[in-house]
């Protein structure tokens, strides 16, 4: 059967909505569970219209209890359902943390493979929208650190759509981090494109430095690559997409070509994904590296008040500064060599 390819211009939020709709249509074991996802359509309107179309039995407004949302999803998964949970904001996932890391992540292992946990947990994450505290966090490293979970973060409407469909189809539990400040960004979405929650994408080719990032910072990194090109520096930008597993083969290929690595994420630096990527790439590509891997990240502070978030968040200039460091450009303000 020839599938009609249906490419539409959608915002990232609409792309997720359309992926949820497809999943609900195609598999009656899929159900959505979250706070305010029904009539309201979620605080970001991502589930808009789904309860009206699929009923409150499939699109369930949950009591305000994150552990309850995840824990009942575990029981539903035991029973053969494929729950898609929405955590309203990144900072509210912690009450559900125990159920995620101790139950969802481990039950397949604990039962020697007998029980599957095809649970998708959607989390709007990251800053840049001027929100109050607990509304701008990047908790992905906690989950990437947990064996048994898959952790992914799309950066554009197409990936948001196809990666979510792949996440829901996966028999493994998936933490699906949605870059909330990109919810309103439009892009072409082929709703029949196959999903990929394993592989990174090279989103800009370059020869001098590899810049690895994910989520909302991918757009910033692409801008940084354009700006650097004007100065004759060629940046290769990699959108990780999957944070567990990390597609190190793609990163390795790029670093072996460029010899330099910059990693950028919004999350705090200490024990973050950047540390893992730096260590793994160093293990794999030591002989190819012309400079130690450089991290450009949020600070090791709680997420600051929104008046300060522009300082906290890596922006184009901080990324370029990181690139300068990796290139040992003497003019770099934050060149750590200056400490010596």
């Amino acid at each position: 059967m020839m599938l009609q390819t249906s490419t539409r211009q959608l915002t990232l939020g609409q792309a997720i909505n359309s992926a949820l709709r497809r999943a609900l249509q195609e598999d009656d074991k899929v159900l959505l569970l979250g706070e305010d996802i029904g009539k309201l359509g979620g605080v970001f309107r991502v589930t808009d219209g789904l309860q009206a179309d699929f009923g409150s039995d499939r699109v369930m407004d949950a009591p305000l209890a994150e552990s309850g949302i995840i824990g009942t999803a575990v029981g539903l998964a035991y029973r053969g359902y494929r729950p898609v949970c929405e955590i309203q904001f990144d900072g509210f996932i912690y009450p559900g943390f125990d159920q995620i890391v101790a139950q969802v992540a481990k039950l397949h292992y604990r039962t020697q493979g007998a029980v599957r946990m095809p649970i998708t947990i959607r989390v709007p994450f990251g800053g840049g929208i001027g929100a109050v505290e607990h509304h701008s966090e990047s908790p992905e490293a906690y989950f990437a650190h947990t064996s048994g979970l898959r952790v992914v973060a799309p950066s554009n409407p197409q990936d948001a759509h196809s990666m979510l469909r792949a996440a829901i189809a996966s028999d493994d539990p998936v933490l699906f981090f949605e870059p909330k400040r990109r919810y309103w960004v439009k892009g072409a979405v082929d709703e029949d494109a196959p999903g990929d929650i394993e592989h990174a994408a090279v989103v800009a080719e370059g020869a001098d430095v590899t810049l690895v990032t994910y989520g909302a910072l991918v757009a910033v990194a692409k801008d940084a690559a354009l700006a650097a090109a004007e100065d004759g520096v060629s940046i290769e930008v990699i959108d990780l997409r999957s944070l567990s597993p990390i597609d190190f083969d793609t990163v390795e290929r790029s670093v072996k070509k460029t010899g330099r690595l910059v990693i950028s994420h919004e999350a705090q630096q200490f024990a973050g994904l950047g540390a893992e990527i730096a260590a793994s790439v160093t293990e794999r590509c030591f002989d190819y590296l012309d400079h130690a891997p450089v991290r450009v990240t949020g600070f090791d502070t709680p997420y600051p008040p929104s008046a300060l978030e522009d300082h906290f968040l890596p922006d184009l200039d901080r990324m370029l500064d990181g690139v300068d460091r990796a290139l040992r450009k003497p003019n770099s303000l934050t060149d750590w060599k200056a400490d010596e």
């Binding site: 824990g71 009942t72 028999d171």
Partner: protein, 374 residues
């Protein structure tokens, strides 16, 4: 199970007041009339009571043997159920094969009733595998060590049953300590909101390791559920017949769309919390002695005697069976060996995971270096 209990039974708070502990058999083995609950067990005759008796003796023996195996270094740990046999047998024997139980770590008798094979009871405690059985084979989830987590799983499972349009139910077993955990309270919120066909079965064994129940609750634990919109029962947890009746009431409510029920089975842990625990540090010997006087097995034996059952003959038959069971348990335990090393990487994910696969092959290569060494 012949359920002649399709009464139009409406469990309301006025029916069951907090002072009432449902008891159908006194510690002296005397059957007491209870117009509300008698109809729920009118079909339970001497034969079935004798089979409960057998179950209870067997699981006590399994428990004793497992404790001995731990003392002999064959198990890493064992949490004894001594004293809680009636609560577990009385409830689990009321379940249907398609029902699903979510337990904590102490419900060996529930697992036994569901048909878990003897060595499988020990796997986790011997450390040869993460859990002992396939949950779908026996209708018991893998035990939860995290206190209270399983109550949410039971609620979710029950929601699934409701969505499937079947009258299968889920039952969650947990302790008095667990009722302080957020998960148990969240489970009650979810169950009440969605009218999930779930039974919350709290074995109030008076202690959470060293903490007496009064650290968890000022009032009776059963009093908490009505606040969530869930009717509750307090039942004498050492009275197998009363527990059976109460569970049937809850099952009937759940199967007929009546929603969740909370049962507080008032019982006592007569042994230590686990084989690592020393209850003499925190527990008054007089308290233990009082509860030993309410032993669930002795009580049922006395009742059977009053029903003209030849308890001596029953005891002889059951003892023989218990001896065989203990032997089989021991043999099964000793036969459990460590799985092959690379299986540590199995079942983390359902399929490939490039990172983990790399670790597996690196470790395989590392291990291969030692091939051929003595």
């Amino acid at each position: 199970m012949p359920t002649t209990v399709s009464k139009d039974f409406r469990l309301t708070e006025s029916h069951i007041r907090q002072e009432d502990v449902v008891q159908l058999v006194t510690p002296a083995g005397v059957r007491v009339a209870n117009p509300t609950f008698d109809p729920w067990v009118e079909d339970v005759g001497p034969d079935q009571l004798a089979s409960f008796y057998e179950d209870m003796v067997l699981v006590r023996r399994i428990d004793t043997e497992a404790t001995a195996l731990q003392r002999q270094g064959e198990l890493g740990l064992w949490p004894p159920l001594l004293g809680q046999e009636a609560a577990q047998i009385g409830s689990a024997r009321a379940l249907r094969a398609d029902d699903f139980a979510f337990t904590s770590y102490r419900e060996h008798a529930v697992a036994w009733c569901r048909g878990v094979a003897l060595p499988d009871l020990l796997r986790m405690w011997r450390g040869t595998s993460a859990s002992g059985w396939n949950p779908y084979d026996v209708g018991v989830a893998t035990p939860a060590i995290i206190i209270g987590a399983q109550t949410l799983h039971a609620t979710g499972y029950a929601l699934g049953c409701q969505k499937d349009g079947v009258d299968t139910i889920a039952i969650a077993y947990f302790g008095d300590g667990a009722t302080s955990e957020g998960d148990v309270n969240e489970a009650m919120v979810f169950a009440a909101s969605f009218q999930a066909p779930v039974i919350f079965f709290c074995e109030n064994n008076q202690w959470a390791i060293s903490e007496p129940v009064r650290v968890q609750a000022r009032n009776h634990i059963a009093d908490r559920a009505p606040g969530f919109g869930i009717p509750s029962l307090r039942v004498d947890g050492n009275d197998v017949l009363a527990v059976h009746a109460a569970t049937r009431v809850a099952l009937q409510r759940a199967r007929s769309g009546g929603g969740p029920t909370f049962i507080e089975a008032v019982t006592y842990r007569m042994g230590p919390h686990t084989t690592s625990d020393d209850p003499t540090r925190y527990r008054d010997p007089d308290e233990l002695a009082t509860w030993q006087g309410r032993d669930p097995i002795a009580r049922l034996g006395l009742l059977l005697q009053s029903l003209d059952v030849d308890v001596d003959a029953l005891d002889r038959a059951v003892t023989t069976k218990a001896d065989e069971t203990a032997r089989a348990l021991r043999a099964g335990c000793l036969a459990l060996t460590a799985p092959e090393p690379l299986s540590v990487f199995d079942n983390v994910y359902t399929g490939a995971h490039s990172w983990l696969d790399r670790q597996r092959s690196q470790y395989a290569a590392y291990l291969a270096q030692f091939d051929g060494e003595a």
